[in-house]
Amino acid sequence: MSKPAETKVTVPMLTVTDLKRVFDVSAPWLNRLLEGKGRSIVRAVDGVNFSINQGETFSLVGESGCGKSTVARLIVGLYEPSDGSINFEGVEIGSSVERAKHPDIQGRMQMIFQDPYASLNPRWRVGDIVAEPLRFRKLLPDNAAVDKRVGELLSQVGLSPLDARKFPHEFSGGQRQRISIARALAGEPEFLVCDEPTSALDVSVQAQILNLMKDLQRKLGLTYLFISHNLAVVYHVSDKVGVMYLGRLVEWADTQTLFDRPLHPYTRMLLDAIPDLDMTGRSRTPVAGEVPSPLNPPPGCSFHPRCPLANERCRRDVPKAIAVEGGAVACHAVEENRLPPWKAQAAA
């Protein structure tokens, strides 16, 4: 405490090290035996490293099947990692055994899901849904206190305390997502994992939810892990961004750095693909090809079949992350200094 403020090192709230998760998607044993096929393994998350500081929003972006949602589910404990560590404020919670030793930590993290129509039990009243964490953890002495708290929570997310008596089907998609947020906030968590919370919503409702999430973050000092495929949304909400491709983190950086000076060719491709509202006549070069099947990823850098800069080494070796200003990137082209300048830089 005697140290001056400027030398204080911020300890990350969550640190993920070499996180891996494989899924066995093989056919049943008998089928494999008869058809003479081997096991098929999907490396959904293949060695991911990042850390999130208190009060920050860290976003993971990528196309479908890149493993971003799996990372989210690994962190909240819906899946168990195949390898690697998840460290929450110095406590290891990777394996389910370790996680079970720390129910307090499980209580400090919560999740908001993508589909507001599937994330609320259709047979429960809204009040019971929101109160579930309170009742299960016995956080409050009696029912009257629970009801009062549920009313507060509903008001906090912009609904009426009277809505507690209704059923989920009486609400629109945006309102359901508010209920989902109220439930997540009930146990007063500090860390929220948001898995595509607005991608099922219309733009005007998306704006409401994003504003609400930002307001809550400011008011309650929340830390977010934000999962999305929408770069514009990510740009708007996050402090740091990680870009995932086929189970690996190919680049991460401060939001401004990443969007101003993207390094990895895949990041550049994603930025290029954002439809241009300003219609400045920017020339777009859609990258050919599609995401390869995660069942059979290409060797070396998994992006090389689509990459304009790929060479022999890219086809052979998996690139290691190298630190750059404001973040890190895993690309041989960056390492070998043969990356063309990005448009914004070229124009300047």
Partner: protein, 311 residues
């Protein structure tokens, strides 16, 4: 807190506004089925109060009244509306008491099958893996035998264990278990299928993130959401269970003649069918057929009404 009458009014307002009630009032056939089922239920369960005679009261039986034809035939007696059987029992009363036993056995068997099937289906679907494989393979094996065979097997085994004399004391319970065990597979399969769908939904994942233990999630969250299709099967199964009971009793392995169900009545009457006393077997048979048809029609309607795709 609402007053009870206010609650009833509120309940009725909601019911009469619901899609199910609307689809109910749209079909005359369904309403007719419901009416018939209701009349039979009242007749059966109200038998001790509504029946004109008590066929089990041996003192009131007069053998001279045996083989009376229905009242509109020559030699009919106004005392016996549908005639009498070989022991002089009033056929209408016997049918009412008989349906009571048939329905009771049917209901209990369905509840038993539901209990076993839902529990196993929920366990199999929620746990998955080896437990799931084991339960479902057992179900597959059982499905390859006709239900009546399973019921006969259970009945035979229980006779072996209990002995013939004690068996008749437990005849009803044995029937319930025998029929119940032959129909649980359907429930287990349906529930397992729905559980697999519901389990992957995000509200279940949300409950897991909150930290709820598995069994609690399965019972509190998953179970209420898989009961819709079960209700439909239960209705259709009620008809099946009644028929199975009748078949077993007809074959003579069901309820004893002292405690006749509809099936027993048909069997007894069968002996006299060709000697001219047709009514003894035809009336119980007709009651059985109409009851089963009405319940089945109700089940079909319920299945369609609860299926959002057909609405």
């Amino acid at each position: 807190m609402m007053l009870p009458t206010a609650r009833v009014i509120e309940f009725w307002r909601k019911t009469s506004d619901s899609d199910i009630y609307w689809s109910f009032t749209r079909s005359k056939l369904v309403m007719l089925s419901a009416l018939i089922t209701l009349i039979f239920f009242i007749g059966a369960f109200g038998a001790p109060w509504l029946a004109p005679h008590n066929p089990f009261d041996l003192a009131s039986l007069e053998l001279s009244d045996a083989f009376k034809p229905p009242v509109w035939e020559d030699g009919g007696d106004a005392k016996y509306l549908l005639g009498t059987d070989d022991q002089g029992r009033d056929l209408l009363s016997t049918i009412m008491y008989g349906s009571r036993i048939s329905l009771m056995v049917g209901f209990l068997a369905v509840i038993f099958a539901m209990g076993v099937g839902i529990t196993l289906g929920l366990v199999a679907g929620y746990l998955g893996g080896a437990v799931d494989s084991f339960i479902m393979r057992v179900a597959d094996v059982q499905l390859s035998f006709p239900a009546i065979l399973i019921a006969l097997l259970v009945d035979g085994v229980s006779r072996g264990i209990l002995g013939e004399a004690r068996h008749s004391d437990f005849a009803e319970a044995v029937l319930v278990v025998a029929i119940g065990l032959s129909y649980w597979v359907q429930y287990a399969r349906t529930v397992r299928g729905s559980v697999l769908v519901e389990k992957s939904k995000e509200y279940v994942q949300a409950a897991r993130v909150i930290g709820l233990p598995g069994p609690l999630i399965a019972i509190r969250h998953v179970l209420p959401n898989v009961l819709g299709p079960v209700l439909v099967i239960a209705t259709i199964n009620l008809a099946l269970a009644i028929i199975t009971e009748a078949t077993l009793s007809f074959l003579g392995v069901g309820l004893p003649p002292t405690e006749p169900s509809l099936g027993t009545l048909i069997r007894i009457g069968n002996d006299f069918l060709f000697s001219g006393e047709w009514w003894i077997t035809i009336f119980p048979g007709a009651v059985l057929a109409i009851l089963v048809l009405a319940v089945n029609l109700l089940g079909d309607w319920l299945r369609d009404a609860l299926n959002p795709k057909l609405r």
